[in-house]
């Protein structure tokens, strides 16, 4: 009887697998708020006839787990951009609909979420998550599934991967240019020559650390000390002690929000209240300032985005986000806004929703003004061409310079 049970169970399992497999190629379950799309379609009664068949764009983000914050911002931004586009007539006369899947924060999850979206033939393009590891995991998937995919990661390795992968685009403000601009400001305008570098060992931060070091070397400077730590470290006494030993004029930090706030606080608590800090983009994020408060005053950073951005489109988006959701708009939201907008632009240029046509159209976008920066998608990697150098004053990030660089063609 136990054997009959096993037999029964295995047949149930395979039947349900087959059923799920078969149905997944039809209608993928939708996370998006369908109320917005239908009401927006109803609100539009000028001119273009909106056909009821929405254009579906996939969003593979992280809703649960360690990086759930990114998913929250992404979903919120998705709602805003969907409403904006649909209320102004949609794309090619059709409303858009963003389908969100959860990557759980693991490579396996990212691939599963991506594949679920890619297998759905009604989805025309997929927006990826903010994590370089996730993006690299789906790189080959994009090639196999032949669907336009965007990556938010900033790693130079990702840039190289994108340049070799016709289907994957790195739509991110170019970290190399931004960090170079920041170091340029520190060395050439402020005159510092002695730096100590502290960085997280996770992917994005180690890449940023590398770029900081490169930018310094370009100007003939080597960091006097480089200390690293694992994400989740709470006490930085040993790290700060090591940096103090070399007596730097300024400290460079490359890490994520939580750690940035803690490091800033601890540096100030150790008596270095005037020590200039140059941070990676997370340092200027409203989340970090919210946590670290006063300790962050005086920190300079090269950020893709701050809520007070001088970019017009960005400022409008920032304000709308704040009004709708009650907290400040962060980069994770602005990126989704831009990614979806650019994909829609590509669809408009292509004139239809064929996956290959949209992909070809992407390469034709060379001067798209987004909320974060100007995008040049002639090559797949490093499509975002600029950012902002900011300084935090009175717990608000204030823009010092706008950065922009042309792509090397």
């Amino acid at each position: 009887m136990k054997k009959a049970f096993v037999l029964f169970l295995s047949s149930m399992v395979s039947l349900s697998l087959a059923a799920c497999g078969a149905s997944s190629s039809g209608n993928a379950p939708v996370m998006e708020d369908t109320k917005t799309t239908s009401s927006a379609a109803a609100a539009d009664n000028t001119g273009s006839t909106t056909s009821e068949e929405p254009i579906r764009i996939g969003l593979a983000t992280v809703l649960t787990g360690e990086r759930a914050m990114e998913g929250e911002y992404a979903s919120n931004a998705a709602k805003i951009i969907t409403e904006e586009i649909n209320s102004s007539g949609g794309i090619l006369g059709r409303p858009i609909e963003i389908v969100i899947e959860d990557g759980l924060g693991t490579d396996v999850g990212a691939v599963n979420a991506y594949r679920k979206l890619a297998d759905d033939s009604s989805i025309v393009a997929i927006v990826g998550s903010d994590n370089s590891n996730d993006n690299i995991a789906i790189a080959n998937e994009a090639k196999q599934a032949q669907i336009l995919s965007t990556a938010q990661g900033s790693s130079p390795t990702l840039r190289d991967i994108c340049n070799e992968n016709p289907w994957l685009f790195q739509l991110r403000a170019c970290e190399e240019t931004m960090i170079d601009a920041l170091i340029g400001y520190a060395v050439e305008e402020l005159g510092y020559t002695k730096f100590a570098l502290i960085h997280d060992t996770e992917t994005n931060s180690s890449d940023q650390a590398r770029l900081f070091t490169m930018a310094l070397e370009k100007r003939g400077i080597k960091p006097l000390a480089t200390v690293s730590f694992t994400t989740g470290t709470k006490d930085f006494t040993s790290h700060i002690t090591k940096m103090q030993q070399v007596q730097p004029e300024a400290i460079i930090g490359a890490c994520l929000f939580n750690e940035a706030a803690i490091i800033a606080e601890q540096i100030r608590a150790f008596g270095m209240t005037d020590m200039p800090i140059f941070g990676s983009n997370a340092w200027a994020d409203p989340v970090t300032i919210g946590l670290g408060g006063e300790a962050l005053n005086g920190v300079c950073s090269a950020a893709a985005w701050v809520p007070n951005t001088t970019n017009e489109k960005g400022a409008a988006f920032s304000q709308k986000y704040q009004e709708l959701y009650g907290h400040e708009c962060a980069k994770a939201a602005a990126q989704i806004y831009d990614h979806v907008s650019i994909i829609c632009e590509a669809i408009t240029i292509a004139g239809n929703t064929d996956r290959a046509a949209i992909r070809d159209a992407m390469n034709q976008i060379t001067d798209y003004h987004g909320a974060i920066t100007i995008y040049d998608c002639s090559t797949n990697g490093d499509c975002g061409r600029g950012g902002l150098v900011v300084r935090i004053e009175n717990e608000v990030a204030v823009v010092l310079q706008e950065i922009y660089s042309e792509k090397d063609k």
Binding site: M69, S228, T230, D235, T237, S238, T241
Partner: protein, 291 residues
């Protein structure tokens, strides 16, 4: 010399924090003989309760801490009732898995209630304090040390000197015998869980201004407390606190002199060495299992 002093002070400060969490874990371990895999989540949840009172409702931090700890007491009892009590006769691994499930519920529940963006809480003591040897200690760490000392004293007095404490110890030693002599076992165990949750919860509220709160912070906190218990010895509260101090010092000195990148790895290497050399930890429990 000033630097070593600073490292020492920081190591002790963080060590006291780990010790607090470890203390909570040890109480439960002594009572029911199983490690609580959701202890880190007690820390997180306690911190969030404090956040609710302090930031969302705007009340004074001391009042918020007290209210949060009362809240955690209730949570502790509920946790015991849901995750432990129905499984008290089952195998240890069933209880472990149940606690894991509970920790997931805590984590996701917190995210759904308070969102995934990290938040902070007011400090109890604002200003940093300069020490004689040249080190600086943040005011909040001083507050944590004072509170930890008070709590340790409280727990010691409770367990050793009061009737309730004796009842709790009796239940911990032998549930069956205790019930034979008329001890209300479920009440006693509920008290232990409540106490453990309260202590850890206060720890969460005190830590929040320093390390900030997010719903996944329970995991690393639990992991370090766990190392603290193993190093210090399972059976006793003193062992837990001492273990915590050792973990804090190893972390800080190891980071400064060996490698900052591998700080966590270092702690676990020390843990494994201790397990090899003296598995019962530094302070072994008064009651040993025979065969």
């Amino acid at each position: 010399m000033g630097q070593i002093m600073q490292l020492f002070v920081s190591g002790l400060s963080t060590g006291v924090v780990y010790g607090l969490i470890a203390m909570g874990m040890v109480l439960i371990f002594r009572a029911v003989g199983v490690m609580n895999f959701a202890q880190g989540e007690f820390l997180m949840f306690g911190g969030y309760l404090c956040y609710t009172f302090n930031q969302l409702l705007g009340w004074n931090i001391m009042i918020s801490l007290i209210l949060a700890s009362v809240g955690m007491g209730v949570v502790g009892v509920l946790f015991m009732r849901a995750a432990y009590w129905p499984l008290r006769k089952a195998q240890a691994r069933a209880i472990i898995v149940s606690a894991m499930g509970a920790s997931m519920v805590f984590k996701e529940g917190s995210r759904l209630i308070w969102g995934s963006i990290p938040v902070k809480v007011d400090r109890v003591l604002e200003a940093p304090v300069k020490l004689a040897g040249g080190g600086i200690i943040q005011g909040q760490y001083l507050a944590i040390m004072i509170v930890a000392a008070i709590l340790m004293l409280f727990v010691y007095l409770l367990l050793e000197k009061t009737f309730v404490g004796h009842v709790m110890q009796a239940t911990a030693q032998d549930q069956y015998m205790a019930s034979m002599v008329g001890v209300p076992v479920i009440f006693s165990i509920a008290m232990t869980f409540a106490l453990s949750a309260m202590i850890t919860g206060i720890g969460g509220g005190l830590l929040a201004p320093l390390f900030f709160l997010n719903n996944t912070m329970g995991a690393t906190a639990g992991a370090k407390a766990f190392a603290a218990i193993v190093i210090g010895g399972f059976g006793s509260v003193q062992g837990a606190v001492l273990g915590g101090l050792i973990v804090g010092l190893v972390e800080v000195f190891g980071g400064a002199y060996i490698s900052t990148t591998y700080q966590l790895v270092l702690i676990y290497i020390v843990l494994i060495i201790v397990l090899m050399v003296r598995p019962q930890g530094i302070f072994s429990s008064k009651i040993q299992e025979k065969a």
